[in-house]
Symmetry: C2
Subunit: 212 residues, 2 copies
């Protein structure tokens, strides 16, 4: 007897399993994680996050960068800068970062995130090896000299009472995975330091990137 | 004269451009978009979304599925079911979906999303060709017979006054990209219909999938 297999839609093979984080990570050939940049305004967080993302992208990594620009103007546009709203701001960012880790991505988060408790909450949302806290430890004098958004000037003139580092406190990380002195060297050199750490931590070199 | 190029960190080449949606889409070799499943409770939205994601994953597509389970218990866990909270629920999901489109992903969203205005808001957040509204149009009698979460039974007994379709209205899409009758055929057959539409709409077959 000869079988005549029908090729109909009803015969299509469907996987039994839902697609989960492990499946997406395997497809992306990378370890999903959160790179959490914390530090004062003007410390260089976004500059470093940008540079690190560019370098990861060159290596074929799937990334996304969450910062004030794309979160405060969208998802968190209903939030202000009261302490309650700042906590909610970070809570939502952390939850979105967690969803993006489930999507198999390397998620770069660049927020001042001044309070230890918020950063701990973010860390506790994902697995222990999925959270890399990067403390951009730039002296406030240098941050104020740069003042890229004019916030320190506003604060000194009394128009911005809650600026982190002046009117509002910044709690430095106690056990960050990485500390970089954002005032010391060229951003490219410091970004490369972060990359070297990540090479060891998340094995950038261990996966095939399609590069020679 | 012989040049002796220095191989130092300061000589590393950095791209001039930030990584954006186009760069991430190119790396993923796919068109990022939102597949928005709307319909009554029990219509089959999550079943279809699951099946479509499995199939896309088999084709090498980078996907994420947002549904009540991973959003209501995390990002939106502060929200209830008042009309105001339901609107905020969908607003946040839409904003997260937009961020995930920026990440280069195909985002499957499975929410009842009963109101036209909410779905329009979600659609308007992204480019016109990035939003695919999939109306899972299952007769309420069938949804109630299935009642996978026991919600219809609760509503009939008066314990759930706001269930969509009974105590609260569902506004059917006027111009959805896809309509499927979720009560008519096997879910696998209907999911395949969606896939065929997507093949034409977002060109699943046009990109290299690594399959033969």
């Amino acid at each position: 007897m000869i079988a005549f297999p029908l090729r109909r839609a009803t015969n299509i093979h469907w996987q039994a399993l839902k697609i989960d984080k492990a499946a997406r990570a395997l497809l992306n050939d990378q370890k999903p994680c959160i790179l959490w940049f914390t530090g004062l305004s003007g410390a260089g967080k976004s500059t470093f996050a940008d540079l690190v993302e560019q370098r990861l992208h060159e290596l074929g990594r799937r990334t996304i960068l969450l910062d004030g620009d794309n979160v405060r103007h969208g998802l968190n546009r209903d939030l202000g800068f009261s302490e309650e709203d700042r906590v909610e701001n970070i809570r939502r960012v952390a939850e979105v970062a967690k969803l993006m880790v489930e999507a198999g991505l390397i998620v770069l988060v660049s927020f001042i995130s001044p309070f230890r408790s918020e950063r701990r909450m973010a860390r506790d949302l994902v697995d222990a090896d999925e959270f890399v806290e990067i403390y951009v430890d730039t002296p406030i004098e240098i941050c104020e000299r740069r003042d890229p958004k004019g916030l320190y000037k506003l604060a000194r003139s009394g128009k911005l009472p809650n600026l982190t580092g002046l009117g509002s406190s910044y709690e430095p990380p106690e056990f960050p995975e990485i500390v970089i002195d954002g005032g010391l060297k060229a951003p490219e050199v410091l970004a490369e330091q972060i990359l070297r750490f990540l090479e060891e931590k998340i094995g950038l070199e261990k996966v095939s990137t399609g590069e020679t």
